[in-house]
């Protein structure tokens, strides 16, 4: 994973391996800090991370479609039947 002549190629591999867990705040505090330190020091990995942040944001933006009005109506009337037909 070393590119651009990073002084700590092992750190690049480490960061690459844990990048998503880092992004999702799933690492223990010490490992999180270790990755953060590497990203602060390595331009290449920092760039990778910036890219992953954008991908994450783009995915979050595009995948939130509103429910069609028809579905909303269907569900509301479905719940109304729950009221009338006791289980």
């Amino acid at each position: 994973m070393n590119a651009g002549g990073c002084a700590d190629p092992g750190g690049c591999e480490d960061a690459d391996k844990h990048l998503y867990e880092y992004q999702h705040h799933e690492l223990t505090p010490d490992v999180h800090q270790r990755i953060k330190d590497h990203l602060d020091a390595c331009g290449h990995c920092q760039e990778l991370y910036r890219e992953e942040e954008i991908i994450r944001r783009k995915v979050a933006q595009c995948a939130c479609e509103a429910a069609p009005e028809q579905l909303r109506t269907r569900v509301i009337s479905l719940i109304a039947t729950f009221r009338t037909t006791r289980s």
Partner: protein, 216 residues
Amino acid sequence: MLLLDDPAALVDGVGALGSRMMPDPQDDLTERFEAEVIPLLDTLYAGALRMARNPDDASDLVQETVERAYKGFKSYTPGTNLRAWLFRIMTNAYINIYRKKQRQPQQSSADEVEDWQMHKAASHTSAGLRSAEVEALDGLPDSDVKRALSSIGEDYRLAVYYADVEGFAYKEIAEIMGTPVGTVMSRLHRGRKQLRVLLEDYAAERGLVRRSGEES
């Protein structure tokens, strides 16, 4: 499955409600169900689209989820993550109803795609990135991102959806998908790597960025 299929949990739920609520616990339960579930319809529909992948089937899946959720609502513990609980029900409904219909012929082709993509992903990373690439990705239209998301394997897509759109913790995703956390992590890893390769390709197709290895 845990909550839904456990009759003891249902009975407990009734007992707890019955002792606390005044005249008609069923009415109260329905009110609460409506008040809590209706605001989540958009979320449920967006999630259903990641599974069923066309608007009609996604709507049917949401309706099925709502029906099943209502039947099991007494066993839902107020204050716990309702979204996660509903997605767990939706996942089961999807597996029961839709996946059976498909008989998974796409599974093997998805694996093939994955192999060349992973190979490409590896070469991409080692080739390094140009800073322009960040801006190029940012400039991609939503349609490209949706296309990429729908191109990756279903389990990968759902893991990415739960983590990146819904913001669920890995542990919650594991419960929703019925897998160990390690499986969630590897699905996320592979899914995101594949997404990245696809998005870089789209950016190159649109002339937003040069492909790695191309001469300037």
